[in-house]
Symmetry: C2
């Protein structure tokens, strides 16, 4: 097909002025001048800005087609690239030919017309919303962050491991799971006790969607030393909030011969790398978010990338919070004492009010953390960490893993977890075990942080939540 | 923790000789010399080769620990990096300290001891098999190909789109689907007709695991112009073959304003890019595959990356195959005639015997292809393509998509597909439709091609197949 230029390349100055160029994209707006010409703003999604195409009245299809163009129509515009006199734009195209490739059927009812639409409404047209300024920008920032994730790890010698989505092990324990089956649910085979006979199911036993790739990726960590996952994970929790999805993407690095301090350093370096990439590569989209969505968003990212993250013991965090409550400099809804899990209000106080920078809280009481976290010498805390950041609270959770088989077994017994089910996880401690550590970063929460968007359903292409799996 | 070096960096000459170095990894083999020292081969997974650590008898733990080291034990070795006199190795470490971090419990029963194991057996210890030469190499090649996928598209202005895994649209039609539910399958709620009441299910209706992200990614294509998916996809087919997985990863690019010829060019460029990356970046692992798994594998990749892919019409392919059968230069099990789907034997004949290079077969009869493929002007073929390569047959399948609403609707009606279910897919043709095209590449089949491995279960970390979802 016709050789064309991306609007990004044209606006970035990669093509000299006076060149003959062709752009392919969709009309954002059309404005007709009294001087007898039209200004078309054409977008191809390659960058935030559309390019202005000046369509003179002497185009053969000017009156029959050009003046009928509306938002969303697809066009191919040929012409000369020239400096633009317009405000806020450096380049424009003086068109000598405009082909209309696809019309908008009944522009008055076009679901994503140029007028204002609520995000809530736009979720009902998730197939069209990437054509809007906001969702185009979200998609590009999401891509930018994705690439930064891979680049960060690849440059540091990590290997991406595709951990399984379907799992028959029920032992992850991180949340409610979706069941996966091929049985005829209306008339399932039943065993002698009248229970569903999963031996006739696809996998020969009950299967679920994974809630985390961590346990699996640990196996690869103890062979390849530095690994990470980046894939979809699932929670079947009936949470209708702006922060929960039933299907979301998560990043989980795991490093052999690493302790909690190394883990915290990696988490800090990682977050700074991600946000620096967005600042450098998606300045156009960030300017839009700062202008329209969240005035603080660029400032917040710059502050984070330049900040030194504080390290703080959980016990110290508790003292700080108790003290704040005593001094009445803070009033918390949830009680605070050693042994209590930190709530969002506590996390925000620590990072925003007390420290004023990101903070890594470390060494939590073992009873509020998962079985696989390494028991500290005090016998009552584990080598867990949460990274808290101003404006969001917890953004990363991680730990050093329990590498000692006897200690792990004791924890499994204390928690009444079925040791047999963990046979392969325990094997990793029987054969060449080493200290290792890792963390998890929820990808959509990272995008919320970068963009200032407030609902997690608006930063994933097709959100899945209770009652919603359309498209 | 201790500052250490990756074995890859040491063997690649990134650290000068005579430096003090530390490596952390696992024992591959130990050989004791009569001269009173031991040679330890230590691997950390960062590259194919282990590094040789020479442990002198005067180490304080030489007799108590070093001579008891067996395959799989975890160690930290400190010493001086020196040129190696050994065959096939350039560097070795003269150890001045060896810490044993993790022993192997009962070396005689270590599941992945240094002796030969069948791939079938190793599948039963999928948590340990990445420690073997073969599966370590597969993991690194898989990573290399993954990074190449992202780099290829990113460099060309494509955006990675995370299409949904759970879908309630039943309209993909590419194969049997897994059901996803949170209902109590033993006692599900039933409606007045006695059928399962999915209105009480998590998503309020039946939900499944996706078989392809194509339809979803088309929506993003018609906003961002160049997009791709790279994620897990699912087939609930009871196929127990060396070429089928229930869960596998797929790559699906989609390009706006592109026709079938552009699509074929992109597919050719993409495959060459991927295999060139493996040849350049994983020469160490490929040398192993060529030596132990498939003598042809390096040669096959080099040939493909240097070949010009042939383009051939389906009709011509049929003539060639009929002619071969008539001349008795080939004898096919499956009948060949215009309108028949090409079987593997036909594909292999075309690419291996007739052309001797990769070939893109284009314009198939519409009745053997999916509803969304663009109808050609002859009214009986569609703008579909398959890329066939010597040694594997079909490796990529793609098409130009039907962008004309009336033609699409006629196809939906001919195939008795529910138009209502496709409302949003049809919307894309009502609002600024443009010609667009894309293809799908099965990621695991690509790894099979690159490595010469013969069973698809051996190129994904934790394979899911009928009866198998362990780990």
């Amino acid at each position: 097909m016709a050789c064309s230029h991306s609007i990004h390349d044209l606006l970035a100055g990669r093509v000299p002025f006076e060149s003959s160029v062709t752009v392919q994209g969709w009309i954002r707006t059309r404005r007709d001048s009294k001087a007898g010409l039209s200004f078309l703003h054409v977008s191809d999604g390659s960058c935030f800005a559309p390019i202005q195409v000046v369509a003179p009245a002497n185009l053969p299809n000017y009156t029959t087609e050009v003046v009928r163009l509306t938002t969303g129509c697809a066009v191919i515009a040929h012409g000369k690239l020239v400096p633009s006199q317009g405000k806020g734009q450096t380049h424009e195209i003086q068109a000598d030919r405009i082909e209309v490739v696809g019309w908008v059927e009944d522009p008055d009812t076009y679901p994503v017309s140029a007028k204002h639409h609520t995000f809530e409404y736009l979720r009902t047209v998730a197939h069209l919303r990437p054509r809007t300024n906001t969702f185009g920008a979200v998609a590009r920032v999401r891509h930018c962050l994705s690439m930064a994730v891979h680049r960060f790890f690849h440059e540091r010698g990590f290997f991406w491991v595709h951990t399984p989505i379907i799992t028959s092990s029920d032992c992850e324990g991180a949340g409610e799971m979706f069941k996966v089956s091929t049985l005829d649910l209306n008339n399932p085979p039943r065993d002698a006790q009248g229970q569903i006979d999963h031996s006739q199911d696809f996998f020969g036993k009950p299967a679920h969607l994974t809630v985390s790739g961590q346990l699996n990726v640990e196996a690869y960590c103890l062979a390849l030393s530095k690994v990470y996952t980046f894939g979809p994970t699932f929670r079947a929790e009936n949470s209708n909030t702006t922060r929960h999805l039933a299907e979301f993407w998560m990043i989980e690095p795991e490093v052999a011969f690493a302790d909690l301090a190394t883990n915290a350093d990696l988490a800090e370096e990682f977050l700074k790398y991600l946000f620096r990439a967005v600042l450098e590569e998606r300045a156009d989209d960030l300017a839009f978010f700062a202008d329209r969505i969240d005035k603080q968003c660029v400032n917040r990212l710059e502050t984070l990338t330049n900040a030194q993250f504080e390290r703080m013991d959980y016990a110290e965090a508790i003292r700080i919070l108790e003290d704040a409550q005593t001094r009445k400099s803070a009033s918390f809804e949830f009680p605070i004492h050693w042994g209590a899990d930190l709530q969002s209000e506590h996390e925000r106080y620590l990072t925003e009010t007390h420290v004023g920078r990101p903070v890594v809280v470390m060494n939590y009481p073992k009873q509020i953390k998962a079985f696989y976290m390494r028991l500290n010498d005090d016998g009552r805390t584990v080598a867990a960490m949460d990274v808290l950041a101003p404006g969001i609270g917890e953004i990363i959770g991680g730990s050093q893993r329990e590498e000692r088989l006897d200690v792990l077994d004791t924890r499994l017994e204390e928690l009444n977890l079925p040791k047999d089910e963990y046979w392969w996880y325990r094997d990793l401690r029987r054969y060449g075990t080493v200290p290792h550590a890792g963390f998890g970063l929820g990808f959509e929460r990272t995008i919320l942080y970068a963009t200032g968007m407030s609902n997690i359903r608006d930063v994933i292409p097709f959100p899945r939540t209770p009652g919603h799996a359309e498209f």
